[in-house]
Amino acid sequence: MTSHTATDPRAAAASHAEGWWQRPAALFVFGGITLALVVGSLFIGVYDLGAEGGREMFFITRVPRTLALVLAGSAMAVCGVVLQQLTQNRFVSPTTAGTSEWAALGLLLSVILFPTASLNVRMVLASLTAFAGTMVFMAILQRIQLRTTLIVPIVGIMLGAVVSAITTMIAVSTDYLQLLGTWFMGSFSPVVRGRYEILWVVALVCLAIFLLAHRLTVAGLGPDVATNVGLNYRRVMLLGTAMVAVATGVTTVVVGFLPFLGLIVPNMVSLLRGDDLRSNLPWVCLGGVAIVTSCDIIGRLIRMPFEIPVSMILGVIGAAVFIALVLRLRRTA
Amino acid sequence: MIKLADVAKSYGDVHALGPVDLDLPRGGITALVGPNGAGKSTMLTIIGRLLGADAGTVHVAGMDVTTAKSRQLAKTLAILRQENHFVARLTVRQLVSLGRFPHSQGRLTTECVAAVDRALEFLDLTALQARYLDELSGGQRQRAYVAMVLAQDTEYALLDEPLNNLDMQHAVAMMAQLRRAADELDKTVVLVIHDINFAAAYADRIVAMTNGRIRYVGSPREVMTPDVLSDVFDTPVEVIDHPTHPLAVYYRLS
């Protein structure tokens, strides 16, 4: 084997091993905090739960909304991890690979081509385009001569911008522009019973990623290394991309864009805990849930009785955190 | 003359230079030699005020390089760095004409045009002057940069590895031209050079550095001894006496 840049993840983790963040207790504490946020989210809102019919409303709006927060938050965070493993680049995520924009294009196409289709059909189409788009991104990466850490996300963002221009163009010429804005706002307010159940699919994706974690890590080291240890590189690559596409597609259809989530959560976790994928995954899930829930709560409280979509708050906070991460890299590199 | 007093520089925790003191008289060619990381380029860059020193003062022709007006300095001192990365697309002539900027602020006078012509001719670039830099070989581009420095027409010229990318013929020609510039045009040339034998053949003075310090200063005959060279380069070196200059041999020692 020629590559010794491929550091053993356990060795990297071991250097952090003495930290508080490595102890199992830490995970429980963090889990507790997240749970508190989630429960808190159940009881925040304009509607008075004590009033008549409060109980029903609780199950029609609050519970679905909170479940959607948990599912979408963990799914997008885990998607980030998978993409980062597959491209071996810590700045890649559905936001910076164009995956979300492709999913949006698929959703728009499904609305235009099959106006009467159900949510499930839309979701399938969105996932398919997200998959195709992410494969395009991967193919482009293969062709770029200079694959520095920073150039990869730039290419992804620009690809996303071009796709988004196509989407806008189609939307303008078919008079869907106004709808476009509301669809992709990334808001949990329209999530009610009957509109979120499909999100359980992403729970399955998360589970699959847990099981595949090691293979994804190996595949990230490149086809040569992967084949050397007897892994079918192409299959793992396709599988990983497909899982990201499904999770992104579904989340985009149900709640819209959740920018930067897949980027900042995995990076913050590996800053705190080192780079062991398997043991980091629970943290990443919890982190995603905690951040989305907090942003949603902020969005609901800041201007009662109106709501600020979660994507805007995530956009501001996410951009700030991301830039801090990049500048940190500049200092150390 | 060039005068360094107590000059020191670190990059973060890495100690790069000094403190060093150095006096170089006006005229002639001075070669800075030493192993990689000895601080040669750092020192040259500090003299050329492209890099600020952490401590100490540098004077060139009586001007303190950190406080003197940059434009005034540009008429006295020209510096060429090793790496020149830019995306601007210029012809050889345009590049060399930029050397006249300190004198004319871009509006070339007839005197400028003459200086540019001279510099092009001096480096055998006249036939290539309408070519774009990205169409040239590495060696031709290197000559174009040196021509730009010559067009700047300064008393002092600082060159960081001017022989980079040059083949044998052009390396010899480049050194011969720098020698001519020193002798005929009365320029003071300071250069960083890797090939110790080129230094011995063309320089008037050799400054040998290791680990950010100046170890030896002297004429080629004084510095080119087995003891000094073996010490500086940390490699066994023999010196053969050639009719015109001493010759260091280190490729394969018996």
């Binding site: 730039i154 991301f322 | 007006k69 020149n84 210029l90 002539r93 004409s97």
Partner: protein
């Protein structure tokens, strides 16, 4: 490499006779591109295209009776559009070329780095913190100037800080800039959500002008800004040449690098503010015309690139406007299609050349 590198180093007397070189016609002593004649021909053609497009936009298919009052109203409106597009085109083209030079790259554009998102964020913040009254009165010149100054100060501080880092890596800048742009976009939308509906109305009227319906009261200020900035940049075209060689060469030639870079960044901020306030953001247009300009001119000497890029952006934008609006009746798509073409060009460039 086909270059013959084997001329003898003998200084032949004939060499100086060749010094003006057969490849350079005419008596032009300074930086000529290899073929000056072709340059003027191309510039003339581009200008003719621009004029033709402008004339067509103004005269083509006017539904009203020639000479009637309606006729002149329509002509008047269309003239405003042409003026707006001209100013916006020059803004984007010149800003991009100047920006490329001071940042020593050919990929970043001020828009990709979020200058226009910054503009929107600053405008929104003004309404947010000072209330609608501050913006309602903006039609006075004083207010516009004050606002522009605020924007300029902010852009200078922010991007000056980004670009002044000693070992600032281009890739870091690019990534940080792009993300900053996204962040400012979110911030602006976020603050807009917090505005009262009436404040929001006033703001949208300011922010979302289009090419066919721009506020003509803003035109004179935009015009003045473009002329002013254009004059300053043209005067400094040789300095720009030197600055585009990077910090070390520029310093070596006696240019106060940091100061010049800052000055150009301020100019760029002015141009982008003007253009964004007139027609809203365009991310890839500047990249597109700058690329075309480098292809057409060959050299990157600003004496030649600046006039060409200004002419080319105006010609491109006017033609696109005419074709899309009057031939395809798709005026809503104008900026989208330009963006699409520009974005694709950007990606193709990135894939073919990589980043250097």
């Amino acid at each position: 490499m086909t270059t013959t590198n084997s001329q003898p180093m003998v200084q032949s007397p004939a060499a100086s006779d060749l010094s003006r070189g057969p490849a350079i016609p005419g008596p032009v002593p300074a930086h000529p591109p290899a073929t000056v004649g072709r340059y003027w021909l191309r510039l003339t053609i581009v200008l003719l295209v621009a004029v033709l497009a402008a004339v067509l936009i103004v005269t083509y298919d006017n539904p009203a009776e020639p000479g009637s009052r309606g006729f002149w109203t329509i002509v008047n409106n269309r003239l405003t559009s042409v003026a707006t597009i001209t100013i916006v085109g020059i803004c984007h083209g010149v800003a991009t070329v100047a920006f490329h030079s001071v940042t020593n790259n050919r990929i970043l554009t001020p828009s990709i780095l979020g200058f226009d998102a910054l503009y929107r964020a600053v405008q929104t913040a003004l309404v947010f913190f000072l209330g609608a009254g501050a913006v309602a009165a903006t039609n006075t010149v004083g207010h516009v100037v004050a606002q522009s100054l605020l924007m300029i100060a902010f852009a200078t501080a922010l991007y000056g800080w980004l670009f002044s880092g000693k070992r600032a890596s281009l890739h870091v800048l690019l990534l940080v800039g792009v993300v900053l742009g996204m962040g400012f976009g979110s911030l602006a939308t976020f603050m807009q959500r917090l505005l009262t509906p009436s404040e929001f109305d006033i703001l949208t009227a300011r922010l979302f002008a289009t090419m066919s319906q721009s506020d003509s009261t803003y035109l004179p200020i935009g015009f003045a800004a473009v002329v002013g900035v254009g004059f300053v940049l043209w005067r400094r075209r040789h300095v720009l040449d030197v600055v585009s060689m990077g910090r070390e060469v520029a310093t070596g030639l006696g240019v106060r690098y940091q100061r010049e870079v800052m000055l150009v960044l301020v100019m760029v901020a002015v141009l982008i503010s003007v253009s964004t306030s007139l027609t809203g953001p365009m991310t890839f247009f500047g990249f597109l015309v700058a690329m075309l300009t480098y292809q057409l001119v060959g050299t990157s000497s600003h004496q030649w690139t600046l006039p060409m890029v200004a002419a080319l952006s105006v010609a491109t934008l006017l033609s696109a406007y005419f074709v899309l609006r009057h031939v395809f009746y798709a005026q809503g798509l104008i900026s989208v299609i330009i963006e699409l073409v520009g974005g694709l060009a950007f990606l193709v460039y990135l894939l073919r050349k990589g980043l250097r």
